[in-house]
Symmetry: C2
Subunit: 472 residues, 2 copies
């Protein structure tokens, strides 16, 4: 074991020296840079990467992987570091490959409603550049994530209920394989029935099958008319029922988000939403032609009224709308601010929408029984929600939070749900995968991993728990 | 070679005898049954399967594959036989595994807008059973295909412009692997970020990675209001521009289909559309709330008018609408009826929509230069169209058609398109795959095939041209 570790250390020295020769200042071994690259937002650092390489092109990524492949050095791709499931936590003697400098729009095709971007560009960065053309990219995970990272974790967020997740909005990729070979997947067309869907294979693969360096994205015209409103309820159950019935009724809401009373208390304080009360709340957005929006609003208000909603408060100006949605997106930070210094972990699970009210009420029982405080916020139109659980910031606090999370996930899985709607597996969710997918499906996943990365250099230890490999 | 063939013959005898013992009358070696299972709609039979096994359950499929795996006997899954690219053409000494008896709705969850069906159920069969609940499954490839077959070929059709293709509308699958092992992929939730996307891997894999036996589908509420119309144009160019501008403008048309003058001549004669002229024509459908439909119609009529459209003729009753769309869906048969006894081959390619007019005009030049007659019909909202080419029904006629097809596909690929929007690869499109995807991506696809089916028993010879395998 000591020998293996010595060997790994000497290998990485070799690779680093070659990279420094080739890439100079793009390679950093500075402590603070390595520290920044040792964790995502969940701050779950266990060790530092030996070095951080800042790629500036697909060729750079290819050169790094070729060397690391030759010398069997692990590589962890890094975007904006917004992961909350330990995706970017480095294993021993690993290199962190940072793509955040790759922010070009490589190609912009407004007439086809698509563009190609480098993986390090953020959604916000893209949208700021194309807004003047009347276009936008809708997938919105809340944080300032890179588009490559969003692909790698199969991200979604508040707009998925209308526009789908990242996987429905990516037409193709450039991917660097474990060997350093560069391939393109998919293309620019809206659909194709030629060949295995490699694009979908890499989306959600968390850097374990290849490193995504470019993304071909679908774009959408900015809607002619947008309306946003909040509606408060006496009970979480009534709020959830309203959201679920709107979806069942087929209303194409642009967004519908739930915040429970504790989350609202945090948001009101953090984002100065003084006009609202600490009650279960739905945040709505409607978009389309003015006539379509009017119809959606009327139908939704009717459903809310029948469920005891306390009336719609409209955000009439773009500024008001931004303020409201910023408050929603800052929910995590608002909850952290409730108890500065406390540990906050965000859970993530999803069920078929008809089970959502039951799951949320069950989860609230679990929270009450745990003695911890927790806020709930969710993409209720998809059946997806997060619990932001607070505990003392130590090992015992972490253990207590994870125990509570296990209970909630257990409920979701028993209802035919998934242990993560959008945060991914990373290190945090591996224990649930076999229950969710079955041992056979995991064996197949391991066979795919073996086919793509038999040396195990690509983000080793993430996504797939160890186990048997399918042999056809 | 002879020895190999003798060995293969003796292996299949062994398997057949075991299957007959186990499954009795579900195994047929009757000539007419084997003939029916030797080709799809393109009638491209080269040989008969040795036997046809009619599976009635996932267990049946598992038993067949287990035996065939053990004895290395090739298996070709068969649904409704509507393939036009040779997907179901058997290799030597193969078994055709017919799933068309598996037509159950296994689970129906109207409150979650989803259901689980056996792979042999057709879209029409499903929709007839759920219509009374106000729900429908939108993916509509035109023919009476099975839902399993639609998954296997990544089908789409006229409604994809609004609802997406089959891949956006399947939540999960039951798949029998080469070894006979049964796995489930995906689930019931709307989105999940846990694990490799096995569902997407099997969709479009044309029976080469596993046999799909159950499909979890998304359902939609029947729209409150539907309007259908045709608009005729003096030129194909004007018709295409109208469709493309409607998409670019963001109008959520439910369907928009093009038929050129020759196709219209065929449709008018075959479907008695006597109110129409043999001119380039767009078929439109709009769906949603009444206000939304009104907005879509007004905006589209305006665009058509600006492009010289000759006015919208509305189908006012459900019967009128059905008649119109049946005529559109019967385009292939209408073209065949133009010259009974002629060979008709349907081509299929797709480009980014901004290139569509250029491609169609170029293809018309190619058709004129070929001296053959050809009708065009297309899902122009996606950039996808088919050319139905007529020639004498012999080897020379086939060669001439395929030469013309190559020219058209060549144009599409040069514009960043795909050689098949929805028909799949089968045997017919393999020659184009390397140009479309690149040698590296094909090597990766072969590595996946090797991982899933190293013995090569699953629909061998389909989809992937032979070549190098990626080695990580």
């Amino acid at each position: 074991m000591a020998d293996g570790s010595d060997l790994a250390a000497s290998r990485i020295r070799l690779v680093l020296s070659a990279l420094q020769t080739r890439m100079g200042a793009q390679v950093s071994t500075v402590g603070s840079v390595r520290e920044e690259h040792s964790h995502g937002e969940a701050l779950d650092a266990s060790r530092l990467p030996e070095a951080v390489v800042f790629a500036e092109s697909t060729d750079d990524v290819s050169a790094v992987l070729k060397l690391c492949h030759e010398h069997r050095v692990p590589v962890v791709a890094f975007g904006a570091g917004t992961s909350v499931e330990g995706h970017v936590t480095p294993p021993e003697h690993a290199i962190s490959l940072d793509l955040s400098r790759m922010t070009e729009i490589v190609q912009f095709n407004p007439e086809d409603l698509d563009c190609r971007v480098q993986a390090g560009l953020t959604r916000q960065g893209l949208n700021a550049q194309i807004r003047d053309c009347g276009l936008f990219f809708p997938v919105d995970p809340g944080g300032e994530a890179t588009l490559g990272g969003m692909c790698a974790t199969r991200a979604s967020g508040t707009a998925a209920v209308r526009y789908g997740t990242i996987k429905e909005n990516v037409l193709g990729l450039t991917v660097v394989l474990a060997t350093g070979e560069v391939i393109r997947t998919g293309g620019r067309v809206r659909k194709s029935s030629t060949g295995y869907d490699l694009t979908a294979l890499f989306i959600g693969s968390e850097g374990t099958l290849g490193v995504i360096t470019e993304v071909q994205l679908r774009l959408y015209g900015l809607p002619e008319s947008v309306a946003a409103a909040v509606c408060q309820f006496e009970t979480v159950d009534a709020a959830v029922r309203t959201a679920v019935e709107a979806i069942q009724y087929g209303i194409p809401v642009a967004r519908v988000e739930l915040a429970d009373e504790m989350q609202m208390e945090a948001c009101i304080r953090y984002s100065h939403l003084d006009e609202l009360r600490a009650l279960p709340t739905l945040f709505f957005e409607f978009a389309g032609g003015p006539g379509a929006v009017r119809e959606q609003v009327e139908a939704t208000e009717e459903i809310a009224r029948e469920n005891g909603g306390l009336g719609f408060a409209w955000a009439d100006t773009p500024e008001e709308r931004s303020r409201l949605w910023k408050a929603r997106h800052d929910a995590y930070w608002a909850t952290r601010a409730l108890e500065p210094g406390a540990l906050v972990i965000s859970t993530d699970c999803i069920v078929p929408i008809s089970k959502l009210a039951e799951l949320i009420l069950g989860a609230r029982d679990d929270i009450a029984a745990s003695g911890m405080r927790a806020a709930m916020v969710g993409h209720v139109g998809d059946g997806n929600f997060h619990t932001l659980i607070l505990a003392e910031d130590n090992a015992e606090g972490r253990r207590r939070i994870l125990d509570l999370d296990r209970k909630i996930v257990g409920r979701a899985l028993a209802m035919g749900g998934s242990c993560s709607g959008e945060h991914g597996v990373g290190l945090g969710k591996q224990e649930f995968l076999e229950t969710e997918h079955g041992a056979g499906a995991l064996r197949v996943m391991r066979a795919l991993k073996m086919a793509m990365d038999p040396r195990g250099i690509l983000n080793p230890g993430k996504l797939l728990p160890e186990g048997e490999v399918y042999r056809g």
